[in-house]
Symmetry: C2
């Protein structure tokens, strides 16, 4: 699953750690997802999208 987390994250000036904290997950989780090591749960996908001020469909592409 491709994603545009990096793009949106940088756009907001967030570090992985900052984004992680806002999503209440570990930095490694954000890193792993950002680098396509695995897909987030649907819940976390929504959380990430919300924190990045966008939609799930916008951040992730199958």
């Amino acid at each position: 699953m491709k994603n545009k987390i990096l793009e949106h994250r940088k756009g907001k000036g967030f570090t992985q750690d900052a984004l992680a904290k806002k999503c209440n997950v570990s930095r490694q989780t954000i890193n792993a997802i950002e680098n396509d090591r695995y897909d987030p749960t649907l819940q976390l996908a929504f959380k990430i999208a919300r924190v990045l001020n966008t939609t799930v469909d916008n951040v992730f592409k199958p």
Copy 2:
């Protein structure tokens, strides 16, 4: 996680079984998700949305 699978599914005239087959999962999986017993993987969420001709953000709400 709330969802509008039933609504969209009926709109297309699909049974749970039909939707399941189109998504390559078991009928019980669709049934369980439709009835909020658990959330699908992000992959499956996208598949369901695609089969129902809509978006993940449209079908699911945190």
